[in-house]
Structures are given as structure tokens and as C-alpha cells.
Amino acid sequence: MTGQPPAIPLKAKDYKSEIKPVWCPGCGHFAVLSALTKALAYLALPREQTALISGIGCSSRLPAYTEVYGFHGVHGRALAVASGLKAARPDLTVLVAGGDGDGFSIGGNHFLHACRRNMDMTYIVMDNEVYGMTKGQASPTTSPDWAQSKLTPHGTGIPSFNPAAIALASGASFVARGFSGDPKSMTQLLVEAIQHKGFSFLQVLSPCTTFRPEQKNWKKEVHEFSGETTDDCVAAAQHIQIDDGMGAGIIYRRELPVWQPVVDPTHTVAELTRGFAL
């Protein structure tokens, strides 16, 4: 089943499907799609050996727009589907995409355990600090005083979730932050995330121009990450706390044991069955 490298190198457009995205004009996700296809082309990954898994939300529509195997599942469970796929098919390059609500709220538990499990996959969270598909509610990464949602007219009043800090604390071996408004750097981050052996977490600041128009200012606010890339989790934790949450770059990268289920086929089913004989 292993695909042969194509004779003619694939271009970024070869990783794009014919389906037109449902995203709003100006959505940051267009740039993520573009950067992802460029990264896949750069890495020359065979399309049939690559799988992109997602949950529900604007960003989770990504798989259908790419020309790789895709699974668009239910809200919050993309990492679980991806973990089962990787366990069953370690030969595949497994990518997971979703939003801040999908990954950090309804899927929060899977995020913790996927980081901890450190299976070899790449998780891209397109963070726009809002639920876009349900028309503008606060997400875990929304600042506590954002009062534009009818659901939380006084703001959430709850401190926002720090994805990089949680990923680091939970055991992810690659933690990075990118910005969709800087597609070149983001492509590079995606390449490095996919090449990393283990669980790579990439938070992409991706503006929602419809429900968070003020995020158009992100291009002025995003800056290079405050700290050097490190393999020291204490230093990385300090860097994350010092950074204002808008710093882009590779925060933490470390070679840690990659988990795959033990498969040791030493028996046939008939041999196991014979073990039941009296």
C-alpha cells in the first residue's frame, strides 16, 4: 500500500482539492490552507500517504479543501480519531486541524492526553478566539472582557486559556506559534512541525474578520517570539509567561519517546485458541 514517490514533483496546488472553501472573505484560514499545501509540497509527501483529520468548526472544514485522505468527524474528537488512525497505520503522515473551541473546550481532554501520549502527528489549531461557525461566541482563548457575544454580555469574566503553556505542561514535544498573516514563516513552522518526531502542536493566530474585526490589527501586534527555541521545559514555560501571547516562533522542541502501541505478532489466532484447551 505504500505509495511510490511521484515521478513529477507535486506543487502546492496539487495538494488543493477542487472544493471552494465556505470561509468568509478575509478569513485567516485561507492563508493556513495555502501554507499547508506549500509545506506538503516542500516535504514531497505522497498525497495518499497523508491524512488530515478534523472536528467541527470553520477551521475543521480544512480536510475537504486538501487533496489528501481526510476525516471530518464530530466536534472536539479529531485528536482521538487521529490517534486511532496513527495507532493502526503508523506508515501514514497524520495531520490534525481545528479551532480553539474544538480543541481547547469540547476537545480539551483529548488535547491533554494527545500531548502526553506524544504520538507522531502534527496538530494545527487555528486560533481566532471565537466560535465562528455558531456566529460569534466566546471560546477558551477569548479575553475575559470581550463583551460582543449575546451569550456573555458582560464578557466571560474567566481568564483565557494559554494553549502553549498547557501543551508544554501536558508533555507535547514540539510547541510553536504562528500567524496566518505571515504565510512564509507559517509554512516553515508547518514543515518543522511535520518533520518533528512526536506530537507537534502549532497554534496559528488566524483572524476572524467577521466576528472579531479588531483582529485585523494582529498584523501590527504579532512579533517574533520573546525567547529562543529551547529543549528545556522550564525555560520554555518562562518564555511563554513572559511573552504576550502574540509572539510567533518555535517555543519548545525536544526529542521525547514517541508512543505507538506494542505490536508483536508472535502467535496465530489458532495458537491462541489452542491455549483454551483443557
Binding site: 500500500m1 505504500t2 486511532g84 497505520r89 491533554l112 502501541p261
Partner: protein, 351 residues
């Protein structure tokens, strides 16, 4: 396999974890049942037959994932070892009270398979059959077992092997104009396994067209609903869907783990001069209505036996218009098992 520990299903997991890896499989301990069902969906999407085991509370958590498996046509099997419910209920005792969730727990129209093991030995046959059916029809199969089966030890004869092909229809590389959810007569459309060149698609829990592209068109919805129903209705299940023992105008109809008591009660009644047949149903959904009607022919008295408070099986059969008007319900909750004498006494009151 992927699973989360739960009483009384953990015995299945604890035996399988060290043994599955010896034959090239694996068991992942998931962080919760939401993960375990979605993990096996991922494994099955990857082309590997996948299943999980749980009990009532876990099955409740899995329902959304099972709907995804139905809609995306990803074959998975869930063994649900029933315990007293609802909620935490009576975790260490038996009850046949998860029939309703197994039949009706999905939102939307979600045709799927429900099977029940008749006794300890039959757990092997029924689960094997469920995997075969699920793989062939690319759908969900829920197998209902029972605490006193799941946590018992017994000496049994080697179990029979289920005889369905169990072969998943897959798409060969380079299939021209590949459509993952193509409409055809059987309703089963070849599934491309990742790694197959030229058949790339995205599986979707959103309603979709034949290609798999999300669609909210009325025609696509109707066509795909029909397809997912057609494949399980038109399948030829053979004769393993039920077991009949004895003959006579008195009928005991039951399912799953009350079967042993029903068979014994039928024998005792027959010995007492009241010729009785007992019928135990193994395939609960889709209900084999015509075949059941044949088995119920020429009855005079009939009781429907099950171990739950709400007469779930009796109501299901009535909803399917599968019961004659004279059928009576013997439904009693756990944790005490239904004994043959309970059935004999109930039937004698009918005379």
C-alpha cells in the same frame, strides 16, 4: 481496539490487551469513552477492523461517535456488557435494560445493527458475526452482553465460527472517477483505504453527496439515508438471527441472556404436558420480521421474557407490529436473574 475501563467490561479488555498484540493487533487505553469510540473510528478509517467494549454509561458517551460511524460509513463494533441502569445504577449486577439505547440512542435516522449474545459460549459467535456484518456493511454493530456473562468463568465447548464473509469492500488504486459514497443497488460502496493512490476522499459526518462533499441538498440527504438503510435491510442474514428450541402452541419469546432460562422453562412446560417452544433472538436490529412471523405461526399463548423494568423488547416488537394480540409481557428488572421457574409460573397463569 481502544477502550476505557468500566465495570463489568474490563475483563474483556484485560484479557485482550496482552493477547491482541501477539496476533498483530493492539488495545489502546483511551482517556474516556468519547476518545475510545473515535479512536476505533480512526483505526477503521485506516482499514483495520476495530472494536471497543464498554457498559451502559460508556455507551451513552459513545452515541455521538456511533452516529458519526453510521454517517461516514466507517465499520465499528461496540460490545456493551450490560449492568443495572440508568446512571451509575448497579455496576456489578446484570440487567437487560440497554436495549432501548442500543436501538434508539442515536439522533437522526441512523440504521445500524444490534445483536445480543445468548450465553457465555455465544459471546464468541455473536461478536465474531457482528464484526463480519459490520465490515461487510460498513456500519455500526452493537453487541449486547451482560454482567453475569462478562464476569463469569465457565467451561464451554469450542464455540461455533460465524460464517459470514466479513470482507470489507475496498476500492483498488486508480479507480476511475472514484466516489466514496456511490449509490448502487446493495448500498455498500467500496471504501478507499488511506495509502490507495488515486482514490483520495474525505470521510464526513456532515451529510454529503456521492463524492463525500458536504451537502444540505434534499436529494443528497434522501439518497444517502436510503443507501445507509438499504445496505442493512437487503443483506441476507441467513438463519443465525434466532434460535428455536422445542415445539408447541405455547411460545416463549426472548433475547440475549434470558435465553437459557427460556429454553429450560420450555422443556419443563413440555414435560408437564404443555408443549412449548422457546425462541431466542440474536439479531435484534434490523428485526427479521417475516422470518419471526413464520416462527410464531400457530401459537396460542405467548409470553415475551426480558430482564428490565420497562418491557423494552415487548414494546419494540409491538412497535414493529411483530406480536400477536395475545402476547403477554414478563419483564422484571435486575439484579436477580430471571429463573426458569418464574417463566413456568407466569405461563401457567395464562392457562
Amino acid at each position: 481496539m481502544a477502550a476505557y475501563p468500566i465495570t463489568p467490561a474490563s475483563e474483556i479488555l484485560e484479557w485482550l490487551a496482552p493477547n491482541l498484540e501477539k496476533i498483530g493487533g493492539s488495545l489502546l487505553q483511551a482517556e474516556d469513552e468519547l476518545a475510545s469510540i473515535n479512536m476505533i473510528i480512526g483505526g477503521s478509517f485506516g482499514g483495520v477492523p476495530s472494536l471497543t467494549a464498554t457498559s451502559g454509561p460508556g455507551l451513552s458517551l459513545m452515541m455521538e461517535g456511533l452516529g458519526l460511524a453510521v454517517t461516514s460509513e466507517t465499520p465499528v463494533v461496540v460490545c456493551n456488557v450490560m449492568r443495572g441502569g440508568p446512571s451509575t445504577g448497579i455496576p456489578t449486577k446484570s440487567e437487560q435494560s440497554d436495549l432501548n439505547i442500543a436501538l434508539y440512542g442515536f439522533h437522526g435516522d441512523a440504521p445500524h445493527l444490534v445483536l445480543a449474545a445468548l450465553d457465555i459460549q455465544d459471546c464468541c459467535f455473536t461478536t465474531q458475526w457482528a464484526v463480519q456484518l459490520s465490515e461487510e456493511m460498513q456500519t455500526v454493530a452493537i453487541v449486547l452482553s451482560y454482567q453475569s456473562q462478562g464476569q463469569a468463568r465457565a467451561i464451554i465447548d469450542p464455540p461455533a465460527e460465524a460464517q459470514a464473509s466479513g470482507i470489507r469492500s475496498t476500492a483498488p488504486a486508480g479507480t476511475d472517477g472514484y466516489l466514496r459514497y456511490t449509490l448502487n443497488e446493495s448500498g455498500v460502496s467500496p471504501m478507499a483505504v488511506p495509502g490507495t493512490a488515486g482514490c483520495i476522499y474525505t470521510a464526513d459526518g456532515l451529510e454529503h453527496n456521492q463524492k463525500g462533499t458536504p451537502s444540505s441538498m434534499a436529494t443528497d440527504h434522501l439518497n444517502q439515508l436510503d443507501k445507509r438503510l438499504r445496505k442493512i435491510v437487503h443483506y441476507n442474514y441467513g438463519s443465525d438471527w434466532a434460535i428455536t428450541r422445542g415445539e408447541g402452541e405455547n411460545i416463549i419469546l426472548t433475547w440475549g441472556s434470558s435465553s437459557g432460562a427460556a429454553f429450560e422453562a420450555a422443556e419443563r412446560l413440555t414435560q408437564q404436558g404443555h408443549a412449548t417452544r422457546a425462541i431466542a433472538i440474536r439479531l435484534l436490529a434490523p428485526l427479521q420480521r417475516e422470518s419471526l412471523a413464520a416462527l410464531l405461526a400457530n401459537g396460542k399463548r405467548m409470553i415475551v421474557v426480558e430482564q428490565n423494568h420497562g418491557a423494552q423488547f415487548f414494546q419494540y416488537l409491538h412497535a414493529q407490529q411483530a406480536l400477536p394480540g395475545y402476547a403477554r409481557s414478563l419483564a422484571r428488572p435486575g439484579p436477580l436473574p430471571i429463573r426458569p421457574n418464574d417463566i413456568v409460573t407466569f405461563m401457567m397463569e395464562e392457562f
